[in-house]
Amino acid sequence: MTEQLDAGLVARRIAGSDQVGEPRDPAEGREVGRARRRREDARLITGRTRWTDNIQLPGMLHVAFLRSPMAHARLTRVDVSAALAMPGVVAAFSGRDFAGEQGSLPCAWPVSEDVVIPDHPPMAVDRVRYVGEAVACVVATDRYRAADALEAIEADYEPLEAVLDMTEALSDGAPAVHEAGNQAFTWRFSGGDADAAFHDAPVVLDRTYVQQRLIPTAMEPRAVVAVPEGEGFTLYSATQIPHILRVMLALTTGIPEHLLRVVAPDVGGGFGSKLQVTAEEVLGLLLARRLGRPVKWTESRSEGNLTAHHGRDQIQRISVAAERDGRIRGVRVDLLADMGAYLMLVTPGVPLLGAFMYSGVYKMDAYDFTCTGVFTTKVPTDAYRGAGRPEATFAIERAVDELAAELGLDPVEVRRRNWISREEFPYTTVAGLTYDSGDYEAATERALALFGYDELRAEQADRRERRDPVQLGIGVSTYTEMCGLAPSRVLGSLSYGAGGWEHAAVRLLPTGKVEVVTGTSPHGQGHETSWSQITADALGVPFEDVSVLHGDTAVSPRGMDTYGSRSLVVGGVAVLAACEKVKEKAKRLAAHLLEAADDDVEFADGTFRVRGTDQGRTIQELALAAFAAHDLPDGFEPRLDADATFDPENFSFPHGTHLCAVEADTETGRVAIRSYVAVDDVGRVVNPLIVEGQVRGGIAQGIGQALFEEAVHDTGGNLLTTTMADYLIPSAADLPDFVTDRTETPATSNPLGVKGVGEAGTIAATPAVVNAVVDALRPHGVRDVPMPCTPERVWRALARSRANDGGTR
């Protein structure tokens, strides 16, 4: 049979396999821009992973939660005594047992003056507000026994009326989710004079789009291990945000921050779902404290679908005023955003992240935005890949396609007439953002060519002519987004509770190897590879000599973590900044050792040389000299290392053109994607392999929203899509291959010229697909199909428009 695996050897062979190919080019930039295969892969393809659920510790106990079966009820009694008698059970608690210490789960984004932030106990005490809310817990010797004992807990409820529909929730006499009512906040924003723009406008389009509720569905379920250690605690969690989590847990539980270590080991995807401070994390810590033993909780998929935050869930009313030639005068948006039952970490901020993006890539005179956050008795919503920007992009890109149809113009042409042209950058939009760079013409031209746009339009005309029962639809999406979260000052002005900087430290070790410490917390993004590439170029050291440390507050004490396509744009740039500082130090040491003036020393390919001579010291020699400390300049500390933070002055604005062709069967409603082309401009690219991976994965999720995914509740507020058999994320068989390409206009807001790529695909794809579906059905009078565009929905849209007199050809 197989021999046991020598992990070190595998890792060396993997590394070995990726460094050959080209001889090292001493010129600058030999690593950045190269499609280097990932160093992370070695452990992931061999199963030598460190998922949180893998952790086994002596004396470790397992936690299971009893969860409310009611969407809205008074919790009148919880009795855990029978559970305590079950085999293997060590402890059982109700919310009341922790009432004094469990605090309230934090919301870090109080968006407005009128925001209502209700108390949110990790375990419900006397009221439940969504199905799945924890009401009691059992701690037992293994996971099976913990689950068994839940059945012995008695909980009594007095049902209250569920609140499921946002419009009804805001109507008079609606049952109140919270004492203060069902309105969480209102937020308004405007640029230019919308009244003037809409007054006498030759064309005004009013549309309503529904962003259905989505379940983020990272493949790794959430898991938490809390360990009493020394005077304090170590919390392992499948989280995107170990640093933010540490601060928030300290504030919530009162455990002093310096006695709390948070570790994000290998994390199996997040997409926003692990950008949270969860009830289970807080209670895990409190249980470990109370019992003095390590405790573990791992959710099942069904439990996760019920209780981990959901995404999107907005009703968007968008109005566009335009001239007859298609030029847009102004846009008005009125948004209802479902918060669910409570405000979690950034719940109310999600729609704000879209508020500035409804003007998209277009110039216009006026823009007006109103958003109302609404409480319902469903699991809270919060960040899901794109967070606010997919919603905004969907609405404007759908509306522009509708405008084109209304005017009988080609949707690409309408975009051309409105977009910011390449000569106009930097351009300050009607929403007040300054887009620093971009070239919409180039990305669009490239996409049209790869797609074969004209040929497909010709085929479409032919099939329309023939009344082919299977119609061809073409969808266009020329998106941009704001990412790289974020300038701390801007976040402050939006009432966000923290900054948007990122931290890095770079250390030369005595043997010349390099440790990079980053405050970003990767969970699939390949930072270990990309940050090594940046460092290798900056310091002139081999890629293999760099290691990247992250995801543990004891190792990486400062950071703002990974979300909002920020890691490279903020964190990668911080790594570069720390390298530059190290080089400054090294230069001073080199000048001292070479008996030259600092200014006479220059750096190239890892060596500091006295200008015009062959006298030099390599950075590795300098690292050893600093360590030995035998001959240092006065006041020079014996180490070559540096810390740096980067706080960008502006967001970054990736953009691109995505084109989708679908075949829609007008008899069955079945839609199949025939081809998909994405040309993205994410600025300068550090690793093309990783960038393309992010784009493709993002597109798949965007298609998921367009065609497959929806969290569905029954009239009692029970989630019906608790399993992966009910909540359908796309499988390989559901998707085509995607054609991807890039154009490149470097960002001017950071020295790497990078823009971020984590969310772009998701933001772009959803409107491209739905525009294609509607385009296919337009000859039948269909002007919209609600998402997800399942065969049933498509069929109903056709039936409806046939009933309305066969449509308006």
């Binding site: 049979m1 021999e3 695996l5 020598d6 050897l9 595998v10 060396r12 062979r13 070995g16 990726d18 050959v20 190919g21 080209e22 190269r34 295969r37 990932r38 892969d41 070695a42 452990r43 393809i45 061999t46 199963g47 030598r48 992973t49 659920d53 293994d142 996971r143 099976y144 569905t217 990272a218 493949m219 790794e220 379920p221 290998d266 994390v267 199996g268 995807g269 997409f271 998929r301 969970h523 699939g524 993004q525 093309p688 392999l689 990783i690 393309e692 991976g693 493709r696 994965g697 798949a700 399993t723 992966m724 994320i729 390989a732 068989a733 998707l735 291959d737 995607f738 991807t740 390409d741």
Partner: protein
């Protein structure tokens, strides 16, 4: 409690188990073989796929007692010595993983798929892996990796488990490298 005898990645185990214990929990919680992860509780995601007597099985849908007398190979048992299985290597080379959570199951399912169809078309790979979900990659590179692994396993240049003898020379395999990137990053032993 029933006793089961299983061989996992070449090591024989005798364990007393509750009749309800899932094979995946036996592997993970009892035997410490945590390379095989769990992604769902309904047999839909495929993360937990292993080879059970040579055929792929979702180890969350098999009781430990049902595996009595069986030979189980997990992703941890594929590489031998320092040499990756060609399918593992292909996943790395094609960037067929991001977070890597679905990867063990994908690799095991792919190996099984090739038993029935040693040279699958793109279509066949997509259909064959329908029961293995990935949320990160959009599948394009997974499909390429499976086809690349298939070529390697059927005696292509990267032949056989082991595959240490040179791998693909610079100049690269068909369809492998990312568009527009130099094809020079072949695989070679150090």
């Amino acid at each position: 409690m029933p006793e089961v005898t299983v061989t996992v990645d070449g090591v024989a185990y005798e364990e007393e188990v509750e009749p309800r214990l899932l094979l995946v929990h036996l592997l993970r919680d009892r035997l410490g073989r945590t390379g095989t992860p769990i992604g769902c509780d309904t047999g839909n995601c495929g993360s937990c796929t292993v080879l059970l007597d040579g055929r792929s099985a979702k180890s969350c849908s098999v009781l430990a007692v049902q595996a009595d007398g069986s030979d189980v190979v997990t992703v941890e048992g594929l590489a031998s010595g320092g040499d990756l299985h060609p399918m593992q290597r292909a996943f790395h080379e094609e960037h067929a993983l991001q977070c890597g959570y679905c990867t063990p199951g994908m690799i095991m399912a792919a190996i099984d798929l090739l038993r029935d169809d040693p040279d699958p078309s793109e279509e066949a790979v997509r259909r064959g892996l329908e029961g293995n979900l990935c949320r990160c990659t959009g599948y394009c590179t997974i499909v390429r990796a499976v086809r690349r692994g298939a070529r390697a396993m059927s005696g292509g240049r990267d032949a056989g488990p082991g595959g240490e003898a040179g791998g693909e020379a610079a100049g690269g395999p068909a369809g492998g490298e990312a568009a527009g990137e130099p094809a020079g990053e072949g695989v070679a032993a150090p």
